[in-house]
Assembly symmetry: C2
Homo-oligomer: 295 residues x 2
């Protein structure tokens, strides 16, 4: 493993970073996290990610005992320790902390903070020229009353099981329905399909994590003149898609050209997808350059 | 924290036991576990617990690279290291292991094995004389197509959220329905209610973890002459319960005398419950004494 890891005030090389077995982030997966990446060495949309981290934590009654600038300082220290790299991948994890084996939150007075930093792996160029294959899997996205998908938590087995099903079918991402049979989201990204020139994505009410990049696409759409709309979608709607793409922090926007054994549109990334991708990248560069020059 | 912890071949005092941050048991909660306790220094129903651990692992395509006697040896080494105690609490965790941050199981060739041993905390006497209060909570048990409750996994947020809701209502255990509105199980135990002299428990088809103690109750029932039956139960059935109890490895059988604000039966542990509890204890002693004398 490359890079460095911050754990409760100490920074270690990735291979030496450890956490206590009694951390409830380990025994119960009880923790929340955010994934960020840098452009121009600046963590992109930092404020929005940390706002969402706080929101996830609130759902678990988990205190966030630091402010945004303090956390950013620790992230920057960890980036420094990780050594030379082009752009950074950053994963911030806040867990319930160490305590006796009980779900009573009084047993864990101090949350644990972990920051993983490593070189960001840019998506291979073919992902943008050829697009990827995704699979509609049988795994159902978590019921909002069981573990609400708006909580970005370490309980990622639902996502892992979906992704592993997609891998078995030769896919690079897994699309899931919710328990009502509506399309919800992918295992590590949000789903969009283009129909009649409009980019459609499942509504939050479908039970999904409101992706920071997903929300950003509404702004990008306005800038490049593409309507982006959240709607209720069903698997049968996939038949009428002219284009498809997914969004996530690390994958940015990845064009989707195959769904299971079907070819989408012409089989290459569609014009609306590419227009949005260009708009996304321009805006990401602009926003981070502005911050980099201020630093 | 008291006791000792085995981690991949090394045993450390509980407070010093650590696992790598890059272990997928930590970052994703991707792992399975079993909780055991000893009677007469012998892990009770060991074979059944380890059979279930293997079953959970199979659902995650997770290899179990040791046989039952080898694992038992490591457990005994850890009990030895934990020092003098009356009876032991044992938690065996098997995780996906250390690897790059991807759900692709090829990234994690070697699972991690963790064994937590500490003194077993006997349930307070009042639990058996007065019974406990449980709460029917709004948290819905995981959908079997999302993360199947038959997998005893480290993804315990569903259970934690249910239990934390019960704590807020003054309860000592949380009873959950499944997504169809049927009663399923409690956050850390199986649920039973007695009606007309018969002990009823939700069917496996409700989506629940088939508790080792739950299964054992069917045998105990036959020995003490109480019919134990698995059925489909709904919240309205709770109104007709003469008695209630819960079962788990660490709690054995705990009589339930209050459900939310309702008093169950006479408000003290009922006769069928106590008959089963005596039968359970007798059988647990007999089985472990037989094994202890052979060792």
């Amino acid at each position: 493993m490359r890079g460095a890891v911050y754990v409760n005030g100490n920074i270690a090389p990735a291979d030496h970073a450890v956490i206590p077995v009694y951390d409830h982030g380990f025994v119960y997966g009880e923790g929340v996290y955010e994934t960020l990446r840098t452009y121009n060495k600046v963590p992109f949309l930092y404020d929005r990610h940390i706002r969402r981290l706080r929101q996830s934590a609130r759902h678990l009654d988990l205190a966030v005992p630091f402010d945004d600038p303090t956390l950013l300082g620790w992230i920057q220290d960890t980036i420094q320790a990780a050594g030379e790299m082009h752009e950074a991948y950053i994963r911030v994890l806040l867990t319930r902390g160490v305590g006796e084996l009980t779900y009573d939150i009084k047993a864990t007075p101090a949350p644990s903070l972990v920051i993983i930093v490593k070189p960001n792996e840019e998506a291979p160029a073919r992902m943008f020229t050829e697009g990827i294959k995704i699979c509609l899997v049988d795994v159902i996205r978590n019921h909002p009353q069981s573990v609400n998908p708006i909580i970005k938590s370490n309980n990622l087995l639902n996502n892992a099981l979906a992704m592993q099903a997609a891998y078995r079918q030769g896919g690079e991402e897994a699309l899931m329905c919710n328990y009502r049979g509506e399309l919800s989201e992918c295992s590590q990204s949000n789903f969009f399909m283009v129909r009649g020139g409009v980019a459609l994505t499942p509504k939050s009410a479908a039970g999904l994590l409101e992706g920071v990049t997903r929300a950003f696409m509404f702004e990008v759409g306005r800038e490049v003149g593409v309507e982006v709309r959240d709607v209720t979608l069903y698997p049968k709607d996939l038949d009428s898609a002219d284009e498809m793409f997914i969004t996530s922090t690390t994958r940015e926007m990845s064009p989707v050209t195959r769904l299971d054994d079907r070819v989408i549109g012409s089989g290459t990334p569609g014009p609306i997808t590419m227009k949005l991708l260009e708009g996304y990248r321009r805006k990401a560069q602009e926003l981070t350059r502005a911050l980099a020059s201020r630093a």
